[in-house]
Amino acid sequence: MISRRHFLSASMGAAAAFASNSPHARAEANQVIVGTWGGDYAQLLSDLIDKPLLAPQGIEVLQDVANADPRKTKLLAERQSRRGSMDVACLSDSDAYIIAGMNAFEAVDGKKVPRLDKVFAELRTETAIPHIYSAQVILYNVNQVKTPPASYADLWDPKWRGKVGLADILYLQNTLAAALAGGGGVSNFDPAEQKLMELRSLDVKLYPSNETLASALKSEEVWLTVMWLARGFMWKKAGIPLSHVVPKEGAASIIFEASVPRNARNKEGGFAYLGAMLDPKAQAAFADKMGYVPTVSDAVLPEDIASQIALSEADRAKLLKPDYKYQTERSQRTLDFWNKQFKG
């Protein structure tokens, strides 16, 4: 039996809970909602940025944890809304390019993010700050592969039949690797189609996620893959006997960025968060834990970490930045080919 007193107190509680979600209440509390990946990334954001850098400024950070795909979809679905659900959106460079193209992000400049002048010029964009970055390399099992491949093209050697594994979710990056192996480049994926079909005939193994690929590398079901150097660093730390080769064709970069959506409820807090993400200590700690390279010039890495995750000067010179316009315009063909021909 629910008494009148119980009913009233429950109703008032519900009303209070509702009010605390209202924009007015959020503004008072100075909350920033950060759309981010989960796992180590979210934990490190919390440990290195939210608590030590934002909390002293009176900013409470709430994480909206999801994979990039749902976050991207949410940003697209909400872009016509007056009030979005995120104040900061973390995305990879390729995804951020698409969303920025829909005019969904605020412009970023030195006034809003004072530390922007410390960011490496080649990593800057108009609507995002580059948080961390890495390069696409070949990972191989040191116990099984005595003479490692020197280039992407070497992965097509029949001696590696059935021993090359790829992550399905990285179809775009795998397509780029195939294009490079076939003489193409960041602005020419045409050769990828033939090369991918050749790889298919060499019994390439496909895994639904990076984690399942890691498991296959650990069990030695496959010996070689195309992956971010940072991932390789983490997998090595997890005990998988791996080493890496920067392919002769060049290493493509992956940048993980953060932006403030145009319909963010707390834009000021969002930009404060972006600034904190560029903190040199936090960036160095991300490198130590996750293997991603800092994007600011004043972040100093210990020698042993730098030697494992950073590219040599010569390799950095060959770092390939994706041609976002080209790969976006070709996106449907790339996905269709991957699904219908390569996996079909």
């Binding site: 795909d69 698409i98 496909l206 976006t328 315009e329 070709r330 996106s331 996996k343």
Partner: protein, 276 residues
Amino acid sequence: MALLVLPACLLVLGLLVGPMIVLFRISLNQFNPTQLMIEAFSFDNYVRAAADPYYQEIILTTLGMALLCTALTLVIAFPAAYWLGRLESRWKSLVVIATLFPLLVGNVVRSAGWMALFDREGLINATLRGVHLIGEPLTLMYTPKAVVFGVVAVVLPYMILTIAAVIESIPRDLEDAAANLGASDLKTFWRVVLPLSVPGVAAGSILVFVLCMNTYATAVLLGGPRFKMMAPAIFDQFVRGNNWPMGATLAFMLLAVTMSFTVFGSIAFARHYSAR
């Protein structure tokens, strides 16, 4: 009295019919890689998807998997449902809860457990290799068999509980009467229990078939990237390709195929048993 259904109707109208109308409108738009969606009013996406051998194959695979899993589930569920329906024990409610228990575990969590079981280094391969029954590990993951196993395990409780509820309502006297008249157990089952349990079988089969047609997590996690069913293909278009018009089109095609089979199945069941 009619007002009693108003809240449910409003909820369905607001949260199902409304978004469906929006989704259908999206399916008539055109995709552009840079603008993502261009306003249009064309059935081009439907024509392209229906004519594409890739999607034809996916629809056939989905349909075949759903029919196979429904049939297997029915065969496995019926004996358990019969036992549960006839159970007269103070523990019966606990058995019902135990039947429901798998539904309390999310699909993804359950599939992750099976991955640990089916993996090359998983429990099954480790056990078989441990007792020297096999030398090389068996390929259990990323096969259609793994998906069938996973899907059947997911939908089994729905079928058991639906049929058990109907069997409970069949008077036991009818079985005793058949036995008194000399019918064997098999004949009693075939001529008495099965025909009377048809409403439960039909309802359970339709429910399970619809769930199987919409399988996503199990298909992705146990079937692997090369095994394609409609729900993952829809996800691909919406999320990986940002092609909402094509994703919406595929969603409506899946809905049309599922509804057609459900409606025709229901009519066939009703006709067959009303004629007897």
